[in-house]
Every structure is written in C-alpha cells, then in structure tokens.
Symmetry: C3
Subunit: 153 residues, 3 copies
C-alpha cells in the first residue's frame, strides 16, 4: 500500500531512500507529542555520499541537487517516524540548512531551494516551511546537511 | 492604532520594516499552535542589505548594528504572524544567530548582543531569550542572519 | 539530597559544574510548557574555557572531551531549570552542535559523540536525541558549542 505522498514522489521521478540508521549514540528522530525533530541529514543518494564544496568543487546547480537528496532523506525519516505512512505528515514546520562552501560563496539560498522546491512539489502547501540557510563546514565533506521540525498526525 | 510594543519601538527611535516577502518556496514564518517559527532574517535596513564580514570589513560595533536590524526584521515577521498586533507576542523563546566572520573572529556574542539588547529594550522581560551565536558564511554576503522561535497569544 | 541522575554522573567520575550565568541580555534557558530550550553552551571545565580548532590545534579525541564538557554544562542548565532536581528531565530531544574547525576537517560527528555518548551513559534511553553536527567559527575561540531542546516534567 503506497500513500498519496509517496505516489506523488514517484510521479516526480524520485524514490525515498531507506531511512539512514543512527551513526552513533543519537537517533534519527525524536517525537514529542505531534512534533517530530529529525536529525541533520547529509546529502547522499544511491551512489553514496554527495561530497563537495560550493564555490570550489561544485556548482550551485549541483548543490541544489544535493539539497534535494537531503529532502528525500528527511522524508524517509518522517515516513519511518510515522510507522511507514507518510500521509500522516501534516506540515513541514522548519528547516535549518547548512551548505559546505568557501568563505566567498553567497548563493546558499539557491542551493537550499533544491530541498525547499522539492518539498513543495511533493507535498503542496504543507511542504511550505520556515527556513534558515547558512554556510558551514560539514561532516565527511558532504555538500549539504539539513535538519527539520515536522508536525505529524 | 499602534500597540504598546510598537509605541515603545518608536520611542527607541526605530521603525519596524515591512515584513520581507518569501524569497523562494519557503515562507517567512510558520505558526504551530502558539509557537511561531520565523525564518532566518538577514541584516538589512532602509538602504538595503547590510553586507560585511566581521574581523575583516566590519567592526564589532558595526556588526552589532547589523544584528539590531535582524531584531527589527524578526519583530516585523512576528507582527505579520500576529495579524498586525505585536502586543500578542508573549515571549521571545530562542534565537539562533549566525555571524559572517573570519576564522579568527571571536566576538560573535558581542555582535549578537545588538539584537538581544534591542529586544529587551523594546519588550522588557518577555524579550529575554535563550540563544546561540556562531560564525558562519552567510547568504549574499550579509553580516548577520538570525532565526527565532516565539510564543504568541 | 542527590537524585538518581546526579548519582549516576558521580559514578561516571564527573561533576556537574555550576550553571553558567547569562553573559548578556539573554538567558541560559527558557521554559515553554514542558519544553526547555537551553542556550548554546561553550566548552569549559574547571580550568576555564576549552579553546582550540579541530584540524589544527586539537585532535578529534580532544574535541570529543570538549564536547563532553558541553554535555555537563547543558545538564547543569537543565538542573537549574528543574529547580535543582535533574530527575525531572524526561528526554533529551534535540541537540545542535557547532565544532570550531578548519575548512578541511570532516570528523564533526566523532567530536560531538563526546557529548552524545556521555548523555546516554548518564541518562540511558532518555539521553538519546536527534542531533546536527556542523563546523563553524566559535565565540572566544572555544572548541565546541552545543545548544539543546529538552523535555521536562
């Protein structure tokens, strides 16, 4: 049985990855009432980690594709938190996005749009979220890391 | 009709800007019950974006002035979220502040005090908040970006 | 009277520091219902601030020790927020960890494990949290800064 949101993700030509297992003594998500906190998801796809530094080894377009990978990983965690039923997602509330970049790079928002645009494509209005997008130095040399707060039913 | 908080802001010689429109597929704020999440507000004033890098092109005092601009932009978003009535703001709960700076710069807290001090001047005790202040690389070369969680009635 | 959690911390050979006083017009924590937001705690111990930059002046192991200091400082704030009774802590919900590092450093997660591992050692399952770990430039040259969201009874 595939829900409406997952059907829509398939229509968009994408597939949810498996929810990544915890890498240490932390967990991929914590549920507090109907609020779901998802740990920072680094950019990865079926080929592995998406590495790179914006302003150096990666274009803004490539960064946006990496941010879209984070969106899929976030939704995979939401699905896991909802017992497999992604249709229980009520709202993407807030994302904090970190972009691996040089000190001179200024297009963090365009990079993170790769995540935000996909969430709205996949979820409609409930995909619209508050957000911050800043440059940072990221684990393992990943291009993007995004954490999120979600409302679930 | 101007509320008490806005009257106080005027007494302090400041004016709320217009709440900035969403720049992409994200929104300036999301309301979840009585919790309000406001997107990262970059430093800007009536002349436009406040650009600069602390430890390089900008002094700590100039950075604090930029952080005060973020405080005004945050309050402008809170006002919009409250249907124009800033007196519905119950508490500034938590700020996360990002300061555009060189790797050697260490006065992020003094910079962010420009925001924190103004919020307490304008709001009194309900302006006192939990906070983190760190250095990062910021969109468009802005000097400061601050996001916030607020409690509203 | 010492509670179970503090007894366990003592068994682990550690002592809670005094909760650090507010350094400016912000506060160490804000309580919103049963949700507790604790301000970013920079790495410090009985000798003072733990300074350093990962990938330069500090090893990953030293960074993990600094992150453990942040865990103790966070718990000290939780204790203060709970009127001195750390057993009122229900769950560590979410940590955001910033590691002072060079642009080439990639082991932020291993550094932050110093905090996460200690929380689980001290608190058991209620110490398991959602988390993000990224590199940044930190106040005063501190090695690590960690903020947290906690659930309290």
């Amino acid at each position: 049985m595939t829900g409406k949101v997952e059907t829509r993700i398939t229509e968009l030509g994408e597939t949810l990855p498996e929810a990544a297992a915890p890498a240490a003594n932390y967990v991929p998500y914590v549920i507090d009432g109907d609020t779901l906190y998802v740990s920072g998801q680094v950019s990865m796809n079926a080929d592995g980690l998406v590495l790179g530094r914006l302003g150096d080894t990666m274009t803004t377009e490539q960064g946006a594709a990496a941010a879209k990978c984070c969106a899929l990983s976030l939704l995979a965690q939401v699905k896991a938190a909802c017992g497999g039923d992604l249709d229980r997602l009520v709202r993407v509330v807030k994302l904090t996005a970190f972009v691996n970049c040089t000190p001179e790079f200024t297009e963090q928002p365009k990079v993170v749009n790769g995540c935000s645009d996909f969430l709205v494509e996949a979820l409609g209005d409930k995909g619209r979220h508050a957000r911050s997008a800043v440059g940072a130095v990221l684990p393992l040399g990943c291009a993007v890391e995004i954490e999120g707060i979600f409302k679930i039913a």
